[in-house]
């Protein structure tokens, strides 16, 4: 069997480069899979489809990190409407104003340099 041509992470990243939040869907389990991987953790099937999220979700859990130096910042777990959860942060709002149950929408953040783009969120209402 030939080697896979791309890794799950590379595919995920190529979508982020285009401003898309991609996830996998397992037809065998009939549910979303995240983080991207080579087999479905619910069924063991290697038939995973790539899909692009509509980028809407709800804050599941949130914390404000207070670093030894610099300003406090938000870290949150976001439940996307397609049924997968990821770690991210909510921007455009004070870190302690991020509340569980808050509706949020995706945007891509490109830190530049050697750093890969990452998915961040903003309040849906904003």
């Amino acid at each position: 069997m030939p080697n896979d041509a791309t890794s799950p992470y590379a595919t995920y990243l190529s979508h982020l480069e285009k401003g898309e939040l991609a996830y996998q869907f397992s037809p065998a389990a009939n549910r979303a899979v995240f983080f991207p991987r080579v087999l479905c953790p619910y069924t063991g099937s290697d038939k995973l489809e790539w899909r692009v999220s509509k980028g809407r979700g709800t804050v599941y859990a949130t914390t404000v990190v207070h670093p030894a130096e610099g300003q406090p910042f938000n870290v949150a777990l976001i439940d996307c409407d397609e049924g997968f959860r990821l770690m991210s942060r909510v921007e455009d709002v004070a870190p302690d104003a991020v509340k569980m149950g808050m509706r949020v929408k995706f945007r891509v953040h490109k830190p530049g340099g050697e750093n890969d783009p990452i998915p961040v969120f903003t309040p849906e209402a904003a």
Binding site: V64, V65, H66, V75, R85, M87, M100, D116, I118
Partner: protein, 384 residues
């Protein structure tokens, strides 16, 4: 755990190494050796008797190999499962299985860490997770903080209730001569301390100390000829639900539920039969979550359960009677120390902090970010 026989193996020797801040240049393996030597002396056995070895630590990739070199023995059976702080509770089940199967007759489980001396960053290799690391969570604290946030949201648990866990731990520590932090601590003190990752201040978080130790296990039959009363392994169970916090199915329910259920089933006991709980309190939320998941109170009521001195000295349920990872000692992988405390309490040798009824101890280890849970139920001679 199916296949393991209730009470067939026992912990016969326990000891801590030097704790807190150890001498300059002391290595993690020096602390392991101290622990082994002292734990063997505790039960009257020698290195010549040891034919099973178990070890896990963050400062040595092949700790068991280093341990064999250091001790100069050739064990018949070795194990080095690495599940973070719960490694040693997993090792107890593995050692019990090996003893039951005749693969070894005397097993030593050991740990050592110089985390305080060398600094937290030097004591464990940083792992990069491309789906979490870019968001700069302060790990592991932020993972537990996320779980705490969710518990507060769903059940109305308060920061004051979390602080009660730290206060109870401090009160136990004040009764433990070797505890690291013994200053008086109030709920208000916890709340006004330096914020680390909301809702946790530094007082909701475990200590950063050096330390190590060992426990010695053998068959129930051989245990009878050891120096001190055996602590029988009545039940073992585990539950691993995830590795990274973003993959934890429900942040308010841990693998301790499955771990506890399996351990109770093997022990033919339930939470109400336990005279004490020694659990891994890396953060104040741990105590709340594990008391719920292990059946000491209903889900969501942990905050109320830990309040009003209920788990402190003189309270209804003694929890973390050594002062815990919050106030006694926390070298990074604390799970070995709860086994040591459970055994000492069962023997009745815990001095000022000795609990009155001491026949059954629930010992519960936690590893990773609420990831790898393992329960061990220990019992006195009256339970077998």
């Amino acid at each position: 755990m199916d296949g393991l026989k209730r009470g067939a193996a026992a912990i016969v020797g326990v000891a801590e190494s030097d704790l807190g801040q150890v001498a300059d240049g002391m290595s993690p393996m020096d602390l392991v050796a101290q622990g082994v030597q002292r734990a063997l002396a505790d039960c009257g056995l020698t290195l010549k008797d040891v034919d099973g070895l178990f070890c896990a630590m963050t400062q040595a990739r092949m700790s068991i190999v280093q341990m064999i070199e250091y001790l100069g023995i050739a064990p018949k059976f070795i194990g080095s499962s690495m599940t973070g702080g719960s490694s040693f509770e997993f090792h107890v089940a593995q050692a019990a299985a090996a003893i039951q199967a005749g693969l070894c007759s005397v097993a030593v489980i050991a740990y050592g860490s110089t985390q305080r001396s060398v600094g937290r960053k030097q004591s464990s290799a940083r792992e990069i997770n491309p789906y979490e690391t870019p968001f700069n969570p302060f790990m592991p604290t932020s993972a537990y903080a996320l779980a705490a946030s969710r518990h507060m949201h769903e059940f109305g648990t308060t920061r004051e209730q979390l602080a009660e866990v730290a206060v109870a731990a401090r009160k136990w520590a004040q009764l433990n001569p070797v505890a690291w932090e013994k200053k008086d601590l109030t709920v208000a003190d916890v709340l006004k301390s330096r914020m680390i990752s909301y809702p946790f201040t530094v007082r909701d978080c475990c200590l950063v100390t050096d330390g190590g130790g060992a426990v010695v296990m053998t068959s129930a039959e051989r245990a009878k000829s050891c120096k001190k009363p055996p602590a029988y392994v009545l039940g073992c169970g585990h539950g691993v639900t995830h590795a990274s916090i973003s993959c934890m199915p429900d942040l308010t329910v841990t693998g301790a539920k499955a771990a506890g259920e399996a351990a109770y089933k093997m022990a033919k006991l339930s939470a109400k039969d336990c005279d004490m709980v020694q659990l891994y309190d890396a953060f104040t939320i741990n105590t709340v979550l594990f008391l719920e998941d292990l059946g000491f109170c209903p889900k969501g009521e942990g905050g109320a359960f830990v309040s009003g001195g209920n788990i402190a000295p003189g309270g209804k349920l003694p929890v973390n009677t050594n002062g815990g990872g919050l106030s006694y000692c926390h070298p990074g992988m604390y799970g070995l120390f709860i086994l040591i405390e459970g055994v000492r309490q069962l023997r009745g040798e815990s001095g000022a902090r000795q609990v009155k009824k001491h026949d059954v101890a629930m010992v519960h280890g936690n590893g990773g970010v609420l990831s790898a849970q393992a329960s061990v139920i220990l019992g006195s001679g009256a339970t077998v």
